[in-house]
């Protein structure tokens, strides 16, 4: 009887693992099939080289780099903001803050990641943009700058929490060595601990990038919906995710070419985040080997 129970439990666990895999495979299949149908009508070269994205107009262009530029620009702004702030926080918590403070500040920071992104989106649109407009006069109502900055705030805990874990995992013997050589706290942090924890810090940054690239609500609300190939952060742009939302919510007919564009855009996004996750996984694996 007990044996039977064990078997049931084991099969049950196995089944739930298989369901996850099946769902993932299913998503990839649907994405691929629809994308292949799309690429039967639009050449992949046009898709990659055209500089306009106008699938919903009569003069159709399918240049994904237009959307991709919006995604990369907002993500870039977010990362430029989140990495220095997140890294400073992690160094402070790991090396300077009293232990009791560390226990309260870490969960508090992780709350930042728990705020619904739609709230961030409205925060960007109704607070940050008007604020920035007071000293950047040409700033449009929808722009990648404030969307990027607010997205940066959202991903700070990704950087700070994982980096702090990495710094904390550096063996104490290295701190002793650094202090024993006459290092100041700052020298210890930047010359010894950060390099020693570099792989963990890089992983945290990659995961943050991956999160930023996939982020939807903030950019859909605050960055605008105008596909534009630009590096100007003050004008409206459209990201891949924002485009997918726009089409999904619109009245585009299922099975039409316009409808399939979202799968082509989706698979582009998927390839990006997949690559980033693979890289971070590889680095993490290497990192584990080094310390064990």
């Amino acid at each position: 009887m007990r044996k039977f129970k064990e078997t049931v439990i084991e099969k049950g666990l196995q089944a739930s693992a298989l369901v996850t895999i099946a769902v993932t495979v299913g998503i990839i299949l649907v994405l691929s099939i629809e994308a292949i149908l799309f690429f039967k009508e639009v050449s992949i070269i046009d898709f990659l080289t055209d500089t306009q994205w106008t699938p919903l107009y009569t003069d159709k262009h399918f240049g994904i780099i237009t959307l991709l530029s919006g995604t990369l620009l907002t993500s870039f702004i977010a990362i430029i903001f989140a990495v220095p702030v997140g890294l400073s926080i992690s160094i402070y918590i790991s090396e300077y803050a009293p232990r009791s403070f560390r226990k309260t500040i870490k969960p508090a920071l992780e709350l930042l990641a728990a705020v619904p992104t739609v709230v961030y989106g409205f925060f960007a649109l109704t607070v940050v943009t008007p604020f920035l407009q007071t000293f950047i006069p040409g700033l449009a109502g929808f722009n990648s700058l404030s969307a990027g900055l607010v997205m940066g705030i959202m991903i700070i805990p990704f950087v700070s929490s994982l980096s702090e874990d990495a710094l904390h995992a550096v063996p104490n013997s290295l701190r002793e060595a650094a202090y024993g050589m006459g290092s100041t706290k700052l020298q210890n942090a930047f010359r010894v601990l950060v390099p020693a924890a570099s792989s963990g810090i890089i992983v945290s940054i990659i995961l943050a990038i991956s999160r930023a690239i996939g982020e939807t609500m903030i950019v859909a609300i605050a960055a605008g919906q105008q596909p534009r190939l630009t590096i100007d952060p003050t004008v409206p742009v459209e990201t891949i995710t924002a485009y997918i939302v726009q089409v999904s919510l619109g009245d585009v007919q299922h099975g039409s070419l316009e409808y399939r564009t979202i799968f082509a855009a989706g698979i582009t996004l998927f390839i990006f985040t997949f690559l980033l996750n693979t890289v971070s996984y590889k680095i993490r694996k290497k990192f584990r080997e080094k310390y064990e």
């Binding site: 060595a177 050589m181 006459g182 290092s183 010359r191 390099p195 020693a196």
Partner: protein, 264 residues
């Protein structure tokens, strides 16, 4: 007459590199060191022995203020190096640690190249002169007998070295900043016998230029290399004498029991 007194003072200082005056250490309410007076002679090797938890490591770590980071640590009394109290308020701890180097129990090279490890102490002092650094690195590695083994791989990771080589690298890293005192906290306890013999030989050579204080669990080691030995027990200095005397004819019963292996 005054001049005469000054020279006597100076020669005494030279002789007694390190002095402790009624030193007590507390971790919160626990008294780990119970009032120790001790003079450590310049250019000699002084060994600290005693059972685990007797306070010998704590005592050693007072000399470069490595205990400062421990929660609840408090010290009373005075520790003088060359006659200067190193626990005075205005003492620059970083500067002190350049003068008082330390080698730890487990080899702890930085995860950097061999070169960067040895150059570290000089670089954090702001020295950027490449040729000076290069000479200094070579010189320090030669002093520990590692130069010929690693000169081809100077830019490779220090973590690729064997344990014994890593420990000699850590000693070279300490020598590069030209300390006058080197503290060693069981430097060979993680090493094999051959590496241990090499390090012991090295320590013996180093005493010409440096004052060395070494904590060891290994009484043969203390007997082999040290000039003076101090036996600690329960936070007290039980006996402190020339090693030859202490190991052959100890004054105190406790010392005798310990060195003959009856406890500890």
């Amino acid at each position: 007459m005054k001049e005469n007194k000054d020279t006597i003072d100076k020669s005494l200082k030279r002789k007694h590199k390190l002095q402790t005056k009624d030193v007590k250490v507390f971790y919160d309410d626990f008294m780990a060191i119970k009032g120790i007076d001790m003079n450590i002679r310049a250019n000699k090797i002084t060994a600290f022995i005693g059972p685990s938890g007797c306070g010998k490591s704590t005592f050693l770590r007072l000399f470069n203020r490595m205990n400062d980071y421990i929660d609840g640590f408090r010290m009373e009394g005075e520790i003088l190096i060359d006659g200067e109290n190193i626990y005075k308020k205005k003492v620059n701890v970083e500067q002190l640690r350049k003068q008082v180097g330390m080698v730890f129990q487990k080899p702890n090279p930085f995860p950097k190249s061999i070169y960067e490890n040895v150059a570290y102490g000089l670089k954090i002092q702001g020295i950027k002169d490449k040729s000076y650094l290069k000479d200094k690195v070579e010189d320090s590695l030669k002093q520990v007998g590692l130069w010929n083994e690693v000169k081809e791989d100077i830019n490779k990771s220090a973590l690729a070295l064997s344990g014994g080589q890593q420990q000699r690298l850590c000693i070279a890293r300490t020598l590069a900043v030209e300390p006058s005192i080197i503290l060693m906290d069981e430097p060979t306890s993680a090493l094999d016998p051959i590496s241990t013999a090499k390090i012991e030989e090295l320590i013996y050579e180093l005493k010409e230029k440096y004052t060395i204080v070494i904590v060891t669990h290994n009484m043969q080691q203390a007997g082999r290399i040290s000039d003076y030995t101090a036996f600690f027990y329960m936070g007290e200095l039980i006996e402190y004498d020339k090693s030859k005397k202490l190991f052959t004819n100890p004054e105190k019963k406790q010392t005798e029991n310990y060195i003959t292996g009856r406890f500890g």
